[in-house]
């Protein structure tokens, strides 16, 4: 019975892992299954999520993933406004979206320089178009995040493509459903903390953007925004950073 359960759970691990050997140890040790299961499942999920990058590369991955989040979120946000008739559909806007698609594709493939150039092109085209300034800021911050040099780090995680499709407002922070998504991201940090780090970095950028949108003399507005939102942003970075440090300290 336990052999079949363990063998099924070991399929969580990628093919290269010593599944046979682990099964042998599990059966030889003969411990209560409840004691073995949590670490077994967590180990399998971590191995699937790509847990073999060193700490520095994980932060680099998070920065590139944050750029991906900002690019897709900004493009989708403009798309919603165009669909509702709030903004016009122009050739310039179509070119911006084309640049975003190129940048996102390059990030997924791990080509940093083409990604940075495409994000920069999206920024310049969107600024020249001048209709959605929040998206302009999003593209510029994505391009800045892509300036960080380092080894080739493809960002292949479907969750990072789906998350920015959610209608999140950095100022209002949206509905309880989005808070549940935030909680899920934080819980997922036990498996892959890079998603929490990326969300935290992207929220940092969105938060700066929200502050920049406030009237220059509105110090009270900035203060209120900081008090109510810095904690929200920080929790992703703190949780992600702590998990990364704990997992990858020897």
């Amino acid at each position: 019975m336990s052999e079949r359960v363990y063998a099924a759970l070991l399929r969580l691990y990628p093919a290269g892992h010593p599944r046979d050997e682990m099964l042998d140890v599990l059966l030889t040790a003969g411990r209560p299954m409840g004691r073995e299961l949590p670490a077994l499942v967590l180990g399998g999920l971590r191995a699937r999520a790509g847990g073999d990058q060193p700490l520095r590369v994980r932060w680099l991955y998070a920065a590139r993933a944050a750029a991906l989040l900002l690019l897709i979120f900004s493009a989708v946000s403009t798309g919603r406004q165009v669909a509702s008739g709030w903004l016009p559909l122009s050739t310039a806007q179509t070119l911006v979206w084309a640049a975003v698609v190129l940048a996102a594709g390059a990030i997924v493939a791990g080509w940093r320089v083409p990604a940075a150039l495409s994000a920069f092109a999206a920024f310049v085209l969107a600024a020249a178009n001048g209709t959605d300034w929040r998206a302009v800021t999003g593209y510029s911050l994505a391009a800045v995040l892509l300036l960080l040099p380092g080894p080739r780090t493809p960002v292949r995680n479907p969750a990072l493509l789906a998350l920015p499709l959610l209608p999140i407002d950095a100022v209002a922070l949206g509905t309880p459903a989005l808070w549940w998504v935030g909680l899920a991201v934080l819980l997922w940090a036990a498996v892959d903390e890079r998603v929490a780090l990326a969300v935290g970095l992207a929220f940092c950028a969105a938060f700066l953007q929200a502050v920049a949108d406030l009237p220059g003399a509105d110090a009270r507005g900035v203060f209120l925004l900081a008090v109510t939102r810095v904690g929200f942003v920080a929790v992703f970075l703190v949780v992600g950073g702590l998990v990364a440090r704990r997992r990858f300290s020897v």
Partner: protein, 104 residues
């Protein structure tokens, strides 16, 4: 260095060992304080192998299942000894304060 890592490396200081042997030695060396789950042990072995502190030295088939034997690398041995020396120095501060002079 975290405690489970320390005891895994210590379990390999005298001779190589396979997964279950390492798990048993860790429990014995730590007085049953560190009892590694199999998933935890293999996450640690995976990480230590990538960091070149531990290496696979032999593979065999027992009861139809592959079994690998792990050993310390020279870097792993150095890291273990450095950590032991650090902890011994820290322990001396408390256990033999007079020997250090000026603290009594």
């Amino acid at each position: 260095m975290r405690e489970p890592t320390y005891f895994i490396l210590a379990a390999l200081q005298d001779e190589p060992g396979h997964g279950y042997a390492i798990m048993s030695r860790v429990a014995a060396l730590s007085g049953d304080r560190v009892r590694l789950a199999t998933g935890t042990l293999y996450q640690a072995l995976d990480r230590l192998t990538k960091e070149e502190l531990v290496e696979v030295v032999r593979e065999e088939v027992v009861n139809g299942r592959a079994r690998r034997h792990y050993a310390l690398t020279p870097d792993g041995r150095s890291a273990l000894r450095a950590e032991a020396a650090r902890m011994a120095a820290a322990a001396r501060v408390v256990l033999q304060p007079r020997a250090l002079g000026g603290l009594a």
